[in-house]
Amino acid sequence: MSPLFSQLAVLGSSLTLIFALMLLWHRSVHAYTTAFMWQSVVLAAIAAVVAYFERETELYFVAAMFLLLKGWLIPRLLRRMEEPFGAEQELQPYVNTATSLLVCGLLVLFAYAVCRPVVALSRLPTRAGMPLALGLIFVSLFVIASRKKALTQVIGFLMLENGIALLAVLGTYGIPFVVEIGVFLDLLLGFMVMQLFIYRIRETFESIDVEQLGRLRH
C-alpha cells in the first residue's frame, strides 16, 4: 500500500502549494477565493486518504470539517464579499509577479532545508509531503507580507492555516481531537472578526488598501 499512499500524499501536498502560488499571478478576489476553495478540498481529500490507509476514523471527521468549513462555509462568506470589494484588485502589490515567483521558489527550497531533520526522523509514508506543507506556510506568509489589499491578506492567512493543518495531518495523522475542535472554532471566529474589520476599514477609509493604514507611526 505504501507507494500509492505516499504518492498520493506528495501529489496532494504539491497541489495545495500550487493553489497558493496562484495568488501570485492572479489579480482578482474571485480567483483567490476559487484557489482557496480548491486548496481546502484537496486538503480534505488528503485527510481522507490518510484516514483510509491508516484506519484513523477520527480523521474522517476532520476531513469532513475541512470540507464543510474551509471548502464551503468560508469560501461562501468570501464570495459574498466579492460584490463590494471585487472591484478593488491587487493591481500593484509591493513585489511584482516575476520576483514573487522567484522568492516563493526560494522559500520552498528553504522549507526543504529546514525540514531535513524532521523528514529524516519520520518513518511515516507521508513524510515526503511535510516540506511542501512548510513551503505552503512560508509562501502564505510571503503573500500576507507582500500584498496590499486587506482581503488578499486574509486569504493568505487562511492558506497559512491550511498549511499548518496539512503539516499536522501528514506528520502526526492529526492532532488530539479537543485541540482540533478548538482550532476550528478559533479559525471561524477569527475569520469572522477579520471580515467585520474589512467592512470597517472600507467604511472609514473608503477602500481596503492597507497602504492607507500608515497613520500610526512612532
Binding site: P176, V178, G190, F197
Partner: protein, 484 residues
C-alpha cells in the same frame, strides 16, 4: 471546584452583558462584582500551591495549576478586576454610549476568561487555542470608538497577532510530531507534563526547530522585537481599560507560554540554546524600546514602548539561570501592577484633556493633582527608581546577569535602561508642568476611581521595600519548576 470559581464567573458576566440589551447600569455593577470571584479563586489556588499541592481537574487532567499557573492566574484576576471596576460602564460620564459599554462588558470578560484558560490548560494545544482566542476577543475592543486610527490599529493587531500565533502552532505541531514518532499517538501527548516527562528522549534538531517557531509566535504576542510592531498601535488606540489588560497581563500570558515551552526544550537540549535566542530578542527589544521612547509625542504610545522594554527585561531574566528566573517573575508581577495602573491613569488624563499628545496634556500637576501625583509615582516606578518594586527586580536581574558571567551584556542593558529612564523623566516633566489648555476643568472628578490606583501603588511599595514571605515562596516554586 476551585477552577469553576476561577473560569465560570467571567463567562457568566459576559453572558449577562450579552443578554441584557440595551445596556443597563446594574449589569456593569454585577459584572464588576463578579470580577472578584476569579481573583479570590486565584488567591486560594496560590495558597494551596504553597502547601505543595498541584491542582488538577477534569477528564485527563484537562486543567492543571502549579506555581507558575497560580502566579499568572493571580495577575490576571487582579488586572481583570481593576479593568472591570474602572472600565467603561460604571462611571456616569465616561464618554461611551450604551452599545459601547455593553460591548466592553461582553468582550473584556471573554478576554479575561481566555487568558485564565490559557494559564490553567494542561494541554499545550488547548493553551494555544486559548491564546489565539485572546487575540480575537481583545481585537473586538480596540475600535470601541470607531476612528481611522483605531480601525488601523485593530487590523494590524488581528493580522499580525493571528499570523504570529499561527507560527506558534507550527511549533506545537512539530513538537507533537516528535512525540508521536517516539511514543505513538496518545490523547494526553500534548499535556505539558507528558511532554516534559519524555523530553529527555525527544530529538534535539526537531525540538530546536519547534522552539524557534514557538518563540517567534508567542513572542509576537509578548511584544518582543522585531515582531512588536502591532503593540504601540493597539495599546495607544484601545480604550484605556483594555490597554491595561493587554499591557498588564496579555504580555505576561504570552511570556508564560514561552516559559512552558522553554522548560520542555531545556529538558531535551539543555538551556544554552533557548537562552541564546531569548537574549538576542530581548536585547533587540530593549534597544528598540529605549530609542523609540526618546522621540515619543503620545503618552499612551510612550507607555506601550515601555511595555516592550519590560517584556525585553523579563525575557532576558528567563535566560539568566535560576536567579534570573526569580528576578524575571518578580519583574513580570511588578510590571503587571504598574502598567495596568498607568494605563488606567492615562485613561483619566485622556478623558480630561481629550488628547493623547504629550504636548497637549500639560500642566497635570495643577489640573488633576492626585492623578498627577500617582502618574508621576508610576512613571518613576517604570523608569526603575526606588522605592518601587521594579527597582528591586531590575537590580536582582542585573545581579543575576553578573552572577551568570555576562558582564558585557549587563553593561549594555544598563545603558539602555538609563536611556529609557531619561526619556521617561523628560516626558513626565513636560506633562506635569507647563500651562494647561485654557477652559479645562480643574480638580478631581470621580474620586472613588482613584482608590484602585492607590492600592496598586501600595502593592508596588510593599514589593519594593520588603518581599512578603508567602510571595517569595511562590516565586521560588516557579523557579523550581522553570529551572530544575
Amino acid at each position: 471546584m476551585i477552577f469553576l470559581l476561577l473560569l465560570f464567573p467571567p463567562l457568566l458576566a459576559a453572558a449577562l452583558a450579552a443578554l441584557v440589551k440595551p445596556y443597563r447600569g446594574w449589569v456593569g455593577w454585577i459584572t464588576a462584582a463578579l470580577s472578584f470571584a476569579p481573583l479570590g479563586a486565584a488567591l486560594s489556588i496560590c495558597a494551596r500551591v504553597l502547601e505543595g499541592e498541584v491542582l488538577t481537574s477534569g477528564a485527563g487532567e484537562f486543567l492543571r495549576a502549579d506555581g507558575l499557573s497560580a502566579l499568572l492566574a493571580l495577575c490576571i484576576g487582579f488586572v481583570a478586576a481593576l479593568a472591570a471596576w474602572l472600565g467603561p460602564g460604571l462611571a456616569v460620564d465616561d464618554g461611551y454610549d450604551a452599545a459601547e459599554r455593553r460591548s466592553y462588558r461582553v468582550f473584556s470578560n471573554l478576554f479575561a476568561f481566555t487568558m485564565l484558560l490559557a494559564v490553567t490548560a494542561h494541554n499545550v494545544g488547548v493553551m494555544w487555542v486559548a491564546v489565539e482566542a485572546t487575540t480575537i476577543t481583545s481585537a473586538m475592543l480596540i475600535p470601541l470608538h470607531i476612528t481611522k486610527a483605531s480601525v488601523e490599529a485593530s487590523w494590524k493587531y488581528i493580522l499580525i497577532g493571528s499570523v504570529g500565533i499561527a507560527l506558534a502552532f507550527v511549533g506545537t505541531v512539530l513538537a507533537y510530531f516528535d512525540f508521536v514518532n517516539l511514543a505513538g499517538e496518545q490523547p494526553t501527548a500534548l499535556n505539558w507534563t507528558s511532554l516534559l516527562h519524555s523530553a529527555p528522549v525527544l530529538h534535539d534538531a526537531v525540538l530546536k526547530l519547534a522552539f524557534v517557531f514557538i518563540l517567534i509566535g508567542y513572542g509576537t504576542k509578548a511584544g518582543l522585537a522585531p515582531m512588536h510592531t502591532w503593540l504601540p498601535d493597539a495599546h495607544s488606540e484601545s480604550p484605556s481599560a483594555l490597554s491595561a489588560m493587554m499591557s498588564g497581563v496579555l504580555l505576561a500570558v504570552a511570556i508564560y507560554a514561552i516559559v512552558r515551552w522553554k522548560i520542555v526544550v531545556d529538558a531535551a537540549v539543555g538551556p544554552a540554546f533557548t537562552n541564546r535566542l531569548l537574549i538576542a530578542l530581548s536585547l533587540l527589544s530593549l534597544a528598540i524600546a529605549a530609542f523609540s521612547l526618546i522621540g515619543q509625542r503620545n503618552y499612551k504610545r510612550m507607555l506601550a514602548y515601555s511595555s516592550i522594554e519590560h517584556t525585553g527585561l523579563t525575557c532576558l531574566g528567563l535566560a539568566l539561570g535560576p536567579l534570573g528566573i526569580f528576578a524575571a517573575m518578580l519583574h513580570m508581577v511588578n510590571h503587571t501592577v504598574t502598567k495596568s495602573m498607568m494605563f488606567l491613569l492615562a485613561g483619566r488624563v485622556q478623558q480630561r484633556y481629550r488628547s493623547t499628545e504629550i504636548a497637549e496634556a500639560t500642566g497635570l500637576a495643577g489640573t488633576m493633582p492626585v492623578t498627577a501625583g500617582f502618574f508621576a509615582a508610576g512613571m518613576f516606578a517604570i523608569a526603575g527608581l526606588p522605592p518601587f518594586g521594579l527597582f528591586i527586580s531590575e537590580f536582582a536581574l542585573v545581579r543575576a546577569g553578573f552572577a551568570a558571567g555576562r558582564a558585557w551584556l549587563m553593561a549594555a542593558v544598563l545603558v539602555l535602561v538609563v536611556v529609557a529612564f531619561t526619556a521617561l523623566v523628560t516626558h513626565l516633566n513636560r506633562m506635569l508642568y507647563g500651562t494647561p489648555p485654557q477652559s479645562i476643568f480643574v480638580g478631581e472628578r470621580e474620586r472613588w476611581a482613584l482608590v484602585p490606583p492607590a492600592l496598586c501603588l501600595l502593592i508596588l511599595l510593599i514589593l519594593g521595600l520588603m518581599l512578603p514571605e508567602p510571595f517569595s515562596r511562590l516565586l521560588n516554586k516557579v523557579v523550581e519548576i522553570a529551572a530544575p
